[in-house]
Subunit: 407 residues, 2 copies
Amino acid sequence: MSLIVQKFGGSSVANPERIKRVAQRVASYQKAGHSLVVVVSALGDTTDDLLELADKISKNPSSRELDMLLSTGEQISVALLAMALQELGVDAISFTGYQVGIRTDSTHTKARIIDISSDRIIRELKNKKTIIVAGFQGTNKNQDITTLGRGGSDLTAVALAKALKADTCEIYTDVDGIYTTDPRLVHDAQKIERISYEEMLELASSGAQVMQSRSIEVAGKYNIPLHVRSSFSTNEGTWIVKEDKSMEDVLIRGVSVSKNEAKITVSGVPNKPGIAGKIFRTLSDAGINVDVIIQNIGKAVSTDISFTVPRNEADTAVTLLKKVADESGIKEVTKDPHIAKVSVVGIGMRSHAGVAAKMFEILGKNRINIEMISTSEIKISCVVKLASADKAVKLLHQEFELNKKKK
Amino acid sequence: MSLIVQKFGGSSVANPERIKRVAQRVASYQKAGHSLVVVVSALGDTTDDLLELADKISKNPSSRELDMLLSTGEQISVALLAMALQELGVDAISFTGYQVGIRTDSTHTKARIIDISSDRIIRELKNKKTIIVAGFQGTNKNQDITTLGRGGSDLTAVALAKALKADTCEIYTDVDGIYTTDPRLVHDAQKIERISYEEMLELASSGAQVMQSRSIEVAGKYNIPLHVRSSFSTNEGTWIVKEDKSMEDVLIRGVSVSKNEAKITVSGVPNKPGIAGKIFRTLSDAGINVDVIIQNIGKAVSTDISFTVPRNEADTAVTLLKKVADESGIKEVTKDPHIAKVSVVGIGMRSHAGVAAKMFEILGKNRINIEMISTSEIKISCVVKLASADKAVKLLHQEFELNKKKK
């Protein structure tokens, strides 16, 4: 008999039929004797519908009012799921983020959870209730409603699992686990049975979109086992757990690709101190995240700097940097939106040399030009032409033998 | 410079265009220097849409979860209206019932307001904010969300007006005031300029559906002037105020009709003590409201009792009473759904004799049979055949000279 936190995403509760199906699954756990805290996202397209409504009224609505508006989506879901469970004879009770004491800072639309005062949930669990909690939301110290940003319901689930010392946290989604690469692209991609928090974080930040990065980070920090699985089947999914010895035997856990970046090149940067600092300070002040950075020392008096930014912010970045260029004697700022970042991830590469060399050889042998490289302890990323990206993923997946079933 | 509470009903905020129009009106008051607290209902059909969603999941949802669900409707409205006001440069801020401290009892779906702790509103008014409050909702002592029942946003507005000692409470609706009778039925019905709380209460409870009765009651108790007016024009509407001397000069203020009742007749009731008590106890236990009651002492050993109930509860009433009949030796229970209740209302009748006689004469002369009569100090109601109801209203409206413009 354990305490389980379950999180169901928007596609799992897209309509009344699916809500009933989720209720059946929750009920089966409850009937098996488990205590349950269920976190739910907004029904299917609700959030988009609400944003559309707001857009008809204001092109630039205040973030406080946006949070007030969007948080209703999850509130609708929890009420409906509680009703569906009650229909099945389960004593369910729904709560908003506020009601279960999810306190956040005041950064509306992407607030951070500060604290959860879980008294109410604990009391209701003692009353044998099945708890349904609205994901994605909390309140700040003024009781203003805040939301946690994209994927915020994952974070609600993980934070509750931590606060309640839950045994497991199950993340239900429309895929049945984490794959060695995107199965829509590579048909013999394999479902991963167990993956470490670190590997999952690297995969998530390099293109795999199954879970929100911050929630993996928090789960890892507090060692909360996550089970990512499908809400449409009862198959085991993927466990995201603390790294153990056996995981090191696997050289590469997965291959990911990100197609949402553009490359910016700043050429003819005078070889004087402070100019690179000025470039990245300008971008950081504008809230633009810079990813891979390389610098080519070309000539004695000047150098070229290239880096990637989210593609939808590339134009802003170029505009801003052209101003810097004018002031600093930089020759040229150009962008290339037709790039992709292909990464291989695995904690095995810590103890096995030659992974990078093998990756470069595979790409080179197949005439895929590597434009930029960046590495972490357990990840190697190569920026390639967008047109070669899918081919690169397929080759890497095959050559690193990820298509073979692991024990 | 005064503090004004304004309430906008669902039809006034049915879509983004109308929300913008409401925002313009609110902004014009704000720019004229008034302090404003604006109460809003759910957008047009939102509540019905949410009920339909719930109905697909449960035929008999728990009232706590229903309140959790329905309260989102008003939350959406306040966020959107605040955004629309901000677009117009007004410093608006939206609140849920909880956030402005509207505390209720725990009678979900028809909770009563116990208290308003208005600190937050007062603080924000001092900050020169325009306050937007979700109508129809509050929370009980456990922080569970409650709703106030049909017309509950009126009550929110009146209760806030009381708590904040507002100068006026404006109720915006899709009609431009209270009329001497339904203008769709009688084309020369006149808009009433001023009406007393008591008269308005009697009109509301006898068929006029402009405002919720409880909110009129509360306004009367605390002497809060209500101004019922159209959100589609700037014309003065109807003021609902404390009775004054001049109002007594008007014999009849208005004629109302209720077509939602059915007549139940229990015949051959043995002339023994306790049987009438049993009849009405049975109905009251089933939550069925009984209105007009008459008892005909027919023969020595038995009597007939007739009364009206809401038409949609007539079948339940008959079923319940047939059981009572079997146990108590009552001969027969019958219903007549084809009736209507026509009422004349006016505080003038307190000091002017003969109003009842005149009403009966008018109906009698026109061969409209009166089936039942009930009176209060300022109202006379006659139950007539449904088919004669409209004719009765027209005749009474004309004969009591309500079609003539009052000063």
